[in-house]
Homo-oligomer: 569 residues x 2
């Protein structure tokens, strides 16, 4: 399938005419009067890209592409502002070459060439950055180093449940290659289909699990990183106390310190037992209390996502007074009934009422058909408990899903339907972007004691920014990850924008929101990385002496300063 | 109580005559014929320390001590080789001054003075390093910066369950200050009584929990670090994806990059439900399989420690064929019965037989009196389930204890007895060191697939080293922490040494063992840090470009190179 040069995913994956009509109909109900005129993307050949300013040495020529579609497709990430600029044909910075190494030595050779020639290199995984992380937004030539051909699981250790995986491996391929071993990484960012292991590591991605195994950092056993100063290979051990962790220097380095080529990753046995429940609350803050209590109970659910009323309605069509809480557990080893049962107790104690499963009254948790939860699935299969109602029908999961598996579809059941909704969401965003909507998300994390004020100030800042812009729109909130000490709130904006101005309109909202986040003591990003778009606020949050130390480390590893200039510094 | 200048803990805490006689009797049975002559430590005044080579500026004089006992007491850590050198009066490197800041500004001032004067500074928490981390083993003058007076819990956030704690706070004081809030850090390294939060952070200490919450790294929300280049304060959030983690640069920096002055730490509600079971195995490798299965089941026990037969006999007096497995769960929120029940099933499936609790046959886990496990304790109290037999009687816990609480005693019950054994162990080591025994431990971590070979080669190396030295002795092994991808094995050596040579004898064993650890692909330390003693092997395990990057970061933060020279580089 062909990757879309301008938008999410593949060209074949874009919304069909009938899907588009249905989507437009839903949004029209929300924002009547908006001009839904479709603005189609230009053809890449019509972009009139400047000629490449660099030519590769002979030894690297076979890895290089100067094809206009290739170059245009690597000019931006996949944020709303990237997609709209593509639609407008505004490609101010396009890589001169796209280089696709076939082996680690190719990466070494490319960095040598670019170091000696002073050519900036943008490491590129799946290109799904939403923060300008892969955009060569600087003067002079640029080489984009696309790791797509380093896509193999090289080694599996079934005893320690780990695998050595090349950095360019995309989510579905990674899971496909592990499936035969009965193992899974279970790291499902929404970009799963079009992002890579190396990209996840370089950006400290957040995935499927709402607690405990949230960031890819903690799934990482060891890494190999090619830097201009040599290859860094960390020791493959389950834990160490020997000096500062080498891996933690490169996790989050966003291509500025080196190019991650492979990693040993910690895996799980494929889950057999699984159950999810959805609970409605009349009051959002009671729901927040319930969520915090569950997060602090030590139950460690795989899923614990709270949607505010607007979010529940917009994304799932569920009317609730205050909030909808989705809680799920999964295990390859044991029934999850006691875990789910206790989470249910806590939620009920805080005023939650079960929407999707019923308690038969004898303490056992059952689904609507009376079958007990936690029953094992078929031999080796990933059985999703047949939850009726919300959780199986189409609850939102732009951030990784409510405990069900966005992995391979297992038929026409809830999991397949869920997976479909999960994977279609970015395509819907693109369809709305073409129709002058401002549709984007932002996320953060803060401690529980600050959440109420962060929520209030951030929501107010977003709404005020829309008012200042003269735009009608809504701001939604959900909690995508929860920790014992605080949540990671994820906000959505749907606004009726003005064609030709939607990037600036979004940028204004984003700036207002980022100021509110900083003022509230929350992080500028929980799992979308810094890139170039978050840089002004990151600079203000990063302690100065640490910034100086990090820059000194970079000068040692990348003396010519070729690696992803404009990111982190 | 007065700190012992030469050995562990307080002078009042040393073994009584009758305790010593009983200990010597036990070891005599193991190693008959050894010369148990007692070698008493010299008085510090008799050490004839050189005059201090530096004088503080007037503004810092009130914080400084040049008392001989103070200086001698800060010359070494508390490793076997430190204690023996003290007993022999071999203090080759003694700090010229001990400085005790009363506020963070004092730390800033001391670093300014030492930077401008080029005087090395050794940051000092509780002084319990077992790797030469606090020993000024270098030429020229030295100032030891003892943070003991920065010992307050400054702020408690009960909503997010966190506290802001000064770095010099020792374990018992930290827990005392949190108790009124119903909160606990539950980080119990064996050094708990005489080590500090700052020391734990600087050395990436390992504590009480055998799974999940093992290293103090993961309990850390944010930190304040004074460097010669300025103060680093990281953002207080539950998680972030904004660039490489600042905290992870300073965790494990062992006083070389800055002086940690305070940290926000993640806390737990005090546990109410708790249960521990001990299981005997006829075969050590079947017991290892059981341990791995439990570690990979997602049950996340608070305790999961496996002792080999020698370890079980030497430390607990329990005869088992192959191994003794201690598994414990605890919770402030819910009965732990389902968790313990499943762990028991797994252990039994692998041939384990319960020693300390019985299964009543109806699926409920009960103690010997028939009361179900997981019953809540009294209101707010820390009730230890009245386990009969091994787990309550005196199982070994040199590494943090088998699920019971080495915190404040709650009467004369099992917890109090356990706490006593746990805290007495270093005093016993000192009594044996005075009597020419070589008594020391070493630890590592490796993946499960490598454990059998690491265990074999490391044990063989230690035994061969003893043979080469002409010493009789035993080598024991236990697993102190277990991860889904591998264990942290902890080895003990008890050998009949030769007075005047026991340091060299231990060093020879340690060198042989360290070579075997490196050859086996295991880490040179899981939780004892690098210090000066592990340096040669750390150098060989640390990737060279990372070492260069770290050194560049240090040059930025500590341009005069005054901070703990000889550690990490």
């Amino acid at each position: 399938m062909g990757r879309s040069w301008w938008g999410w995913g593949t060209t074949e994956g874009a919304l069909s005419e009938s899907e588009t009509a249905a989507l437009v109909g839903r949004v029209q109900a929300l924002l009547p009067g908006h001009d839904f005129t479709d603005h189609a993307p230009p053809a890449p050949d019509a972009l009139d890209l400047p000629e490449p300013r660099v030519a590769p040495p002979d030894g690297l020529r076979h890895l290089c592409s100067a094809d206009p579609g290739d170059r245009a497709g690597h000019a931006h990430g996949k944020a709303f502002r990237d997609v709209v600029r593509n639609l407008e044909g505004r490609l101010d910075n396009v890589p001169d070459l796209v280089v696709r190494p076939r082996a680690e030595q190719d990466v070494v050779d490319v960095l040598e060439w670019c170091t000696s020639s002073g050519i900036p290199v943008v490491p590129y995984g799946g290109g799904s950055s939403v923060v300008g992380g892969v955009e060569p937004r600087f003067d002079g030539p640029a080489v984009t180093l696309d790791l797509a051909r380093l896509g193999q699981v090289l080694e599996v250790d079934p005893v320690s449940r780990c695998a050595r995986i090349q950095a360019g491996t995309r989510g579905p391929s990674l899971e496909d290659q592990l499936r035969g071993h009965g193992l899974t990484l279970r790291h499902y960012p929404q970009s799963f289909e079009f992002s890579t292991l190396g990209g996840w590591l370089a950006t400290r991605a957040g995935g499927h699990f709402a607690t405990l195994y949230t960031h890819v950092d903690d799934l990482t056993e060891s890494m190999r990183v090619v830097t201009p100063a040599g290859v860094v290979e960390s020791l493959r051990v389950p834990a160490s106390g020997a000096g500062p962790s080498p891996d933690r220097l490169f996790l989050g380095s966003e291509g500025t310190l080196g190019v991650i080529t492979e990693a040993w990753m910690r895996l799980h046995a494929r889950p057999v037992w699984r159950a999810t429940v959805s609970l409605a609350f009349d009051d959002f803050w009671r729901a927040v209390e319930a969520t915090r209590a569950i997060a602090q109970a030590g139950l460690l659910p795989s899923n614990c996502r709270l949607l505010d009323a607007t979010e529940a309605f917009v994304n799932a069509g569920i009317p609730v007074g205050g909030g909808l809480l989705l809680v799920g557990f999964e295990s390859a080893d044991h029934s999850v009934e006691p875990w789910l049962g206790r989470a249910l107790e806590i939620a009920r104690d805080h005023g939650g009422s079960v929407r999707a499963i019923t308690d038969a009254g004898d303490g056992a948790v059952r689904d609507a058909d009376g079958a007990p939860y936690g029953a094992p699935g078929g031999a080796g299969s990933e059985t999703v408990a047949p939850v009726s109602g919300v959780a199986s029908g189409g609850a939102p999961a732009a951030d990784g899903g409510p405990g069900t598996d966005p992995g391979p579809a297992s038929g026409a059941g809830p999991a397949a339907r869920w997976r479909s909704a999960f994977l279609r969401m970015p395509y819907q965003r693109d369809a709305l972007a073409r129709r002058s909507m401002v549709v984007e998300t932002f996320e953060t994390a803060c401690t529980w004691d600050r959440f109420e004020s962060v929520h209030a100030s951030v929501t107010a800042a977003a709404r005020q920014a829309l008012v200042d812009l003269g735009l009608r729109g809504v701001v939604t909130c959900r909690l995508t990850h929860v920790y014992p000490d605080g949540p990671a709130p994820y906000f959505g904006v749907f606004a009726a924008g003005t064609w030709g101005s939607t990037v600036q309109q979004w940028d204004a909202v984003k700036a207002a929101v980022s100021e509110a986040i900083l003022a509230g003591g929350a992080t500028i990003t929980h799992h979308h990385a810094v890139g170039r778009d978050h840089l002004p606020w990151y600079h203000r949050q990063r302690p100065d002496p640490f910034a100086a130390a990090l820059r000194a480390a970079k000068a040692e590893l990348d003396p010519a300063g070729i690696l992803n200039p404009g990111v982190l510094w």
